[in-house]
Structures are given as structure tokens and as C-alpha cells.
């Protein structure tokens, strides 16, 4: 099963490799990872998407907590939360299909962020499914390039994490 985990870590050099080294050394998966500073500049948040059975997830959680640089680990599984990713998709465009592409972009509330004579660059934010869906619809026009961020997540409850 897939899990989205939020890890608060001290913001110092080498922390990323402590975390990624833990995952690779113990044979855990990382499907995506995103890192940025929190409101407190001494602390960073890592959002990690991983998968495994209950036993593996229990170990991931405990092993992360064991690292000296880790302040808090939070698994969003089973809790109401919002997940977002951002993707930029460069799609081939010509006189005939420009309008059609624009209507797809519209439907998904995406945006065109760059235009060239032969392409559009689309920016889309959403959960995993939404990005997969627009990718499918744009594919027939010819996707030249796609760049995606890792997933980030936030609990719906007002609690401070």
C-alpha cells in the first residue's frame, strides 16, 4: 500500500542523504520526495511517498524517528488530507490543434505558461489522478517533455504538525 509521510528534520547539510541513505540501506522504496524549509528556517519538511505492508511502514516510521536529525514523522494514511503535485507538460501544438489543447487545459483548470510556434507548455496542479488524466488527454497531441514535482500533503484538521 502507498503511504504519504511527512518528516520534519533539522535544516542542515547532509540530512537529505541521511534520509535517502536510510531508505536505500534498508531496502525501503521512495516513490517521490520533496523537501523545503518550513516557517521555522531551522526546520525542513520532507514529504515522502513510499509503499510497503504494515510491518515495513512500522519500521520506516521507527527508523526515521531513530535518526538524530528527525524531529517528527507523520503518516497521512487513514487521515483526511490534501495532496498536490505540480507538473509542467510541453505539448506539440500547431494551427489545427491549438484550440483543442486550450480546451483541455481549460477543463482541468491548468494554465499555459509558455508558448512557442510549435508548442505549448502547460502547468497543472492537482493530485496524482488529475495529473495522470490530463497527461492522457494531451498525449495524442504529442508530449515533448514532462517535469513533475514530488507530492506534498497537508492534513485537513487545523492541528499544527
Amino acid at each position: 500500500m502507498r503511504h504519504t509521510i511527512s518528516v520534519l528534520v533539522t535544516n542542515e547539510f547532509g540530512v537529505l542523504s541521511r534520509i535517502s541513505g536510510l531508505f536505500s540501506g534498508r531496502g525501503f522504496n521512495i516513490e517521490s520526495l520533496s523537501v523545503a524549509e518550513t516557517l521555522d528556517p531551522r526546520i525542513s519538511r520532507m514529504t515522502i511517498v513510499t509503499s510497503g505492508d504494515e510491518k515495513v511502514l512500522e519500521q520506516i516510521n521507527k527508523q526515521l524517528n531513530k535518526l538524530i536529525s528527525v524531529i517528527k514523522v507523520y503518516d497521512f494514511t487513514g487521515e483526511e488530507h490534501i495532496e498536490r503535485e505540480l507538473a509542467m507538460i510541453k505539448v506539440s501544438a500547431n494551427q489545427e490543434n491549438r484550440a483543442e489543447i486550450l480546451s483541455v487545459v481549460d477543463i482541468f483548470r491548468a494554465r499555459i505558461v509558455d508558448v512557442s510556434p510549435r508548442s505549448y507548455t502547460v502547468e497543472i496542479t492537482g493530485d496524482n489522478e488529475k495529473i495522470a488524466a490530463i497527461t492522457e488527454l494531451l498525449r495524442p497531441f504529442g508530449i515533448k517533455e514532462i517535469v513533475r514535482t514530488g507530492r506534498i500533503a497537508m492534513a485537513r484538521t487545523p492541528k499544527q504538525r
Binding site: T10, G14, S17, K62
Partner: protein
């Protein structure tokens, strides 16, 4: 007053109560060695950096205090890696200080540069690169704090040369506080109560104690628990000495080379009380069939140990000593008598297992020397009052089986990583810590040669370490596996081309003794024990074909032991 980083470093060590460091100098740590020239701190000059870490490790295992290492950058640092990994696997508090090239050169492939912080990240509890002299005292304080608290372990601190030569106002922090590191010592009272109730309901309980008992200095509490409820006890290799080896409730070690009684008891128990142990594969055998009838209570300070290999029914996260103290208090006095009575059939069953298959060997008076005989004679000659270190392999298992360890910190061995070459430098470290104590390194001819250069260190500091080489001219444990499981195809396990260990000892300025027949054994031991001012090598020429038994073949359940 301003001081340079090198002097601040040494003063911080003093503040931490460090009396001895094990080290080897080099380019970038020269500022420290220069300050050390007239600084009051005992420095043991090793002959290889791996030896330094094993010595610090042995020092720590013998005393409970952290061991300290100082080496230079690059190769000096990389040579410490095996020692650090050894300490990490056995949770030993060792603080390793490595020199580093000046901060401006880091990343430039400078002379003797190695990314030691990167290299040791997975085998240290934590590590640091000091980038600014302002942080130096705090980081040293944190390093010792992290190494010695919670589940102990090695910490590495990398010291760039410019940090050592920079100057700053020196003030050692009185307190240490790390937001993200707050080890928990007290066990959950509800869980402890549950464990007591569960134990008192059991009919066939067994204590399975590991190195955590030794690390947490909980041997008295463990003994009190076993005696109070009359619980049969076994220990892991790392737990030897954590429970008295001569105690009537002690069944011997369990696992791959454990006793028949201990393994059978674990396979038949309905209540396994795991204390400071981590269900290593050498202990459990085939994991799916381990302790099939048991409800498991597991006391450990490290939450990751719990339910990692084996599902635990009653986990208690906390320091073994503290949890056992609380547990003892919760045992209702009025139930003890009744409970002990219900255990009688279980005790007679255990006794029967003990009597059917004792650890045994046969020493023919005119035959070749049996290694077990050597260990038993060492035990007799010292009356058990010695610190024993081991190498890894057959020598280690015989030392575990045939010497009786009544006190904690008297058996020192690389259990987790299984590092050949550990035992001799560890013996030196233990001897440095306890100059008056008899320290005996039980070795194989293979392992001993892996850190043989430290003979010079032992001679230089007049350390009367005794090395008993069980010399069978083969890599015995590997050879044993080849005999049992690889059709006697003895691929590359014969090491009969070896130095004459007696002459070698003499060449180093140590004492060399040899026994070729059983009747020479006692004489050699007696002569060795009388030497007080230099190391002694005892070369026991043993029976090459003696295997370690019993043996649970890898991947088999514990009750499938090869006995003869």
C-alpha cells in the same frame, strides 16, 4: 582568553572525563598532536587505525565508559570504518575524531581527503563535520551525549585542519539539549503490568537476555527477576556475563551454537521474555518456526528492535535496568510461591534436556589438544576471574561455550558484525582500562593475523595481554561449513603458511610459548599468567578437525541441531 581549536578539542575531552585516547597522527591532525605534546592526557599510539577503534571499543565494553579515537584524514579515517561498523552493530559508545582537509579544500580531491562523514553515515549513530570553531565545544558535548545515551553507539566527528588552527573564546557547554533526540528510559507502567500478569500465567517461561542487559548494567536486576520467579535463563553471545554463567538457572547460550537445553527450551516455551536482545538470525534460526508456542514479552530501549524480525505480544520500550526494577516491584508477593510450584514440571523438563546433551568433547591424554580443553584450563587457571576477548569463528564459539562468565563486561566479542581481527586490539583496550586485571584474548590463527601489528602497541605500553591462539592452521569456521555443507571441498581455507608465532612474539619483544600436547597446556598457561610486563602469545596447536557443536544449520529451526 582565546584558544586554538586543537587545544579546545583536548580541553573538551578532559571535561568529558576522558582519560585515554587511542590514535595515530597525520598531516591534518598535527595541530592536535602538537598540543598533546605537553597536555595531560594518556595517548596510546596504535599501529593501524582499525586497531585504534577496536581498542577504544574494548576499553568501552570493559568499563562502560565511552572509548575515544583520534586519527588523521583520508586513509586514517577510512581505516576506522570496520571498527566503527563493529561498534555500531553491538551498540558500543565510541567517539571517533577524524582530521579533515581545510574547509576551503573540501570537495576538491585534496591530498588525503575522504568524505568520511558520507562514508560512515550508515554505520554511526550520528556524525558531524565541524565547519566553524564556534560549534566545536557544542558538537563534542553532543557527540558524547549521543554516543552514551539511549541505545548507545559510535559517533564520528570530522575536524577540518583550519578549525583546529582557528582561535576562539573557549567555553564548554554545561548542558546539552537536542530537540530531535530525547531517548526514553522508563517503560510504560501499563505494559509492564501486562507483562507481569502474562509471565505469572505461563507454565513454561524462559528468559532470553542479550547485550542490552550488559550495556544497561542490569545484571543484578536480571538475576533478581530470574531468582524471584525461578525462571530458566539463556543469553545471546552478547548477553554472556549478563547472567551468571555458573547459576543453576542458566541454560547456556542459545542460537546457532547454543546448548541443546537452551534451544529446546526456547522452542517449547509459552512465554519468552526477551530482554535487551534483538532476535538476530544467528539466535532465531528459521524465523517462521522460532518459539512457535510462545507469547513474547520484549524489553528494549530501541523501538526499531521491537517487531522487526519477530512479532512481539507485549513490547516495553525502555532502559532494561529501569524496566526490570519496575517489573520486580509489580510482582505480587503472594503469588510467587504458587507460581514457582507450577513451574516444577518445566524445570524437570529443562533439567532432562541439560542431562541428555551437555556441551562435550573428548580429550585423549595422548591425542591432539582439543580447543575446548584449552578454554577449560584457562578457566581453571584464572578461576574465571579474567576478561576474555575473542576473535570471530570457532575460537569465539568455544570461548562462549566453555568459559563461564559470572560477571558482566568480562566477555568481549564482536557479535553483530563478526569482525575478525577484533579480539586482540579489544584485549589491549580492556587492559589499558584495567591494568591490574587478567585479560586473555582467545584467538584463531586466522583472525589474529588480521591485526597482528598491534603487538608493537602492546609491547610499547608494557601491557600484559595474553593471547591464546587456538592454532589449527585453517580458517576453522569456514572450513567447518565446507565440511558440513560443501562436500568437503576445502576451497581456500588452509592457512598453514603462517609465521612461527613464538618467534614472532620474540621479534616484537613479547613472550612466545607453545603447547603441542595436552600435558603441555597447563604449563604454558601458568607461565603466561606469570608475565606482568609484556604481552604473551600462547600458540596451542590444536586438532585441526574439531568442529563447533551443537550446530543449527543456517535457515533451520533451533530444534534441528547437529549434535555429533
Amino acid at each position: 582568553m582565546k584558544k586554538n581549536g586543537a587545544l579546545i578539542f583536548l580541553e573538551c575531552l578532559k571535561k568529558e572525563g576522558v582519560d585515554t585516547i587511542f590514535g595515530f597522527p597525520g598531516g591534518v591532525v598535527l595541530p592536535i598532536y602538537d598540543e598533546l605534546y605537553d597536555f595531560d592526557l594518556n595517548h596510546i599510539l596504535v599501529r593501524h587505525e582499525q586497531g585504534a577503534v577496536h581498542m577504544a571499543d574494548g576499553y568501552s565494553r570493559a568499563t562502560g565508559r565511552p572509548g575515544v579515537v583520534l586519527v588523521t584524514s583520508g586513509p586514517g579515517a577510512t581505516n576506522t570504518v570496520t571498527g566503527i561498523a563493529t561498534a555500531y552493530m553491538d551498540s558500543i559508545p565510541v567517539v571517533v575524531f577524524t582530521g579533515q582537509v581545510p574547509t576551503a579544500l573540501i570537495g576538491n580531491d585534496a591530498f588525503q581527503e575522504a568524505d568520511i562523514v558520507g562514508i560512515t553515515r550508515p554505520c554511526t549513530k550520528h556524525n558531524y563535520l565541524v565547519k566553524d570553531i564556534k560549534d566545536l565545544p557544542r558538537i563534542i558535548k553532543e557527540a558524547f551525549y549521543i554516543a552514551t545515551t539511549g541505545r548507545p553507539g559510535p559517533v564520528l566527528v570530522d575536524l577540518p585542519k583550519d578549525v583546529l588552527t582557528a582561535e576562539a573564546e573557549y567555553k564548554y557547554p554545561e548542558k546539552v539539549h537536542i530537540d530531535s533526540y530525547q531517548p526514553n528510559y522508563t517503560g510504560h507502567p501499563g505494559q509492564i503490568k501486562k507483562a507481569v500478569d502474562f509471565i505469572l500465567k505461563s507454565k513454561r517461561p524462559v528468559i532470553y537476555a542479550g547485550g542490552g542487559v550488559v550495556l544497561s548494567n542490569a545484571a543484578p536486576e536480571l538475576k533478581a527477576l530470574a531468582e524471584k520467579l525461578k525462571l530458566p535463563a539463556t543469553t545471546t553471545l552478547m548477553g554472556l556475563g549478563g547472567f551468571p554463567g555458573t547459576h543453576p538457572l542458566f541454560m547456556g547460550m542459545l542460537g546457532m551454537h547454543g546448548t541443546y537445553a537452551a534451544n529446546m527450551a526456547v522452542m517449547n516455551t509459552d512465554c519468552l521474555i526477551a530482554i535487551g536482545a534483538r532476535f538476530d538470525d544467528r539466535v532465531t534460526g528459521k524465523i517462521d518456526e522460532f518459539a512457535p508456542y510462545a507469547g513474547i514479552v520484549h524489553i528494549d530501549i530501541d523501538p526499531t528492535s521491537i517487531s522487526k524480525n519477530v512479532k512481539v505480544d507485549i513490547p516495553i520500550v525502555g532502559d532494561v535496568k529501569s524496566v526490570l526494577k519496575d517489573l520486580l516491584k509489580l510482582i505480587p508477593a503472594q503469588k510467587v510461591r504458587e507460581f514457582k510450584k507450577t513451574l516444577e514440571p518445566w524445570h524437570s523438563q529443562v533439567r532432562q534436556w541439560e542431562e541428555t546433551h551437555r556441551l562435550s568433547y573428548k580429550q585423549e591424554p595422548k591425542g591432539k589438544i582439543k580447543p575446548q580443553y584449552v578454554i577449560e584450563r584457562l578457566y581453571a587457571a584464572t578461576k574465571g576471574d579474567a576478561i576474555i576477548t575473542t576473535e570471530v569463528g570457532q575460537n569465539q564459539m568455544w570461548a562462549a561455550q566453555f568459559f563461564k562468565y559470572d560477571k558482566p563486561r568480562t566477555f568481549i566479542s564482536s557479535g553483530g558484525l563478526g569482525t575478525m581481527g577484533f579480539g586482540f586490539p579489544a584485549a589491549i583496550g580492556a587492559q589499558v582500562a584495567m591494568p591490574k586485571k587478567t585479560v586473555i584474548g582467545i584467538a584463531g590463527d586466522g583472525s589474529f593475523q588480521m591485526n597482528i601489528q598491534e603487538l608493537a602497541t602492546a609491547v610499547q605500553y608494557k601491557l600484559p595481554v595474553k593471547i591464546a591462539i587456538l592454532n589449527n592452521m585453517v580458517l576453522g569456521m569456514v572450513r567447518q561449513w565446507q565440511e558440513f555443507f560443501y562436500d568437503k571441498r576445502y576451497s581456500h581455507t588452509c592457512i598453514s603458511v603462517a609465521p612461527d608465532f613464538v618467534k614472532l612474539a620474540e621479534a616484537y619483544g613479547a613472550v612466545g610459548l607453545r603447547a603441542k600436547t595436552p600435558e603441555e597446556v597447563d604449563g604454558v598457561i601458568k607461565e603466561a599468567l606469570a608475565v606482568k610486563d609484556r604481552p604473551v602469545i600462547m600458540d596451542f596447536r590444536i586438532d585441526q578437525f574439531e568442529p563447533v557443536l551443537p550446530m543449527v544449520p543456517a535457515g533451520q529451526p533451533l530444534n534441528k541441531m547437529l549434535l555429533v
